[in-house]
């Protein structure tokens, strides 16, 4: 039973690690694409800098919130799993 409980917590930590890595990968690529397009736009038309920055701010905030969600889920899986106590008790 203890081995089963241990394997459950190992699986939770592994899931957290992989989840965070995948989220960081996706958000990094998305932010990179957005930033590249913005910098290209500003290079072509420097006068539109303010407008591009404002629009990009909203996009980056949305992407960044996804990364923060992934971080929260990963931290919950590792440190604050809501059912951790119940599962540990159930598995002995």
């Amino acid at each position: 039973m203890e081995a089963t409980a241990l394997s459950f917590f190992i699986a939770a930590v592994t899931a957290a690690g992989f989840g965070m890595a995948i989220a960081a990968f996706g958000c990094g690529i998305a932010q990179g694409i957005g930033l590249r397009a913005a910098v290209e736009g500003i290079a072509r038309n420097p006068e539109a800098s303010g407008k591009i920055t404002t629009t990009m701010l909203i996009g980056l905030a949305m992407i960044e919130s996804l990364a923060i969600y992934a971080l929260v889920v990963a931290l919950i899986l590792i440190f604050a799993h809501p059912q951790a106590g119940a599962i540990a008790a159930l598995l002995g």
């Binding site: 910098v39 407008k51 920055t53 701010l57 909203i58 980056l60 905030a61 923060i68 929260v72 440190f79």
Partner: protein
Amino acid sequence: MNESLEERLIKNVVWANWAIFALASCIGLYMAPGPFAMGIICGGLITVVNFHLLSRTLQNALDPGPGTNHRVVVAKYYLRFFVSGLLIFGLLLFRIVHPIGLFVGLSVVVAGIFIALILELKYVFSKEAR
């Protein structure tokens, strides 16, 4: 008077962020248990302050004024990320907040952006109807 679409959108997002944060905090304090309300308040504050700092960082990075140092801008960007991560880590580790409450609080900016977009669409359609 004649604001551009971008100026109006960002004004609406900032306004909607604070409005949703206030509303969610009040509802949490009134109806939810302590840690859940604390999660909404802490998560909301983290994400709204993050949004303001991101806005300043982007303005400094893409429209640098005289004397703006790019190294300082990048350092501030990573510092903001590190402090946010540390705060969320501490809040969850010491069980100060309920995880779902924190999740709701962190969604304040996303909800604010959606509400600002709905307001903008409403404005555009009402303008077209006239």
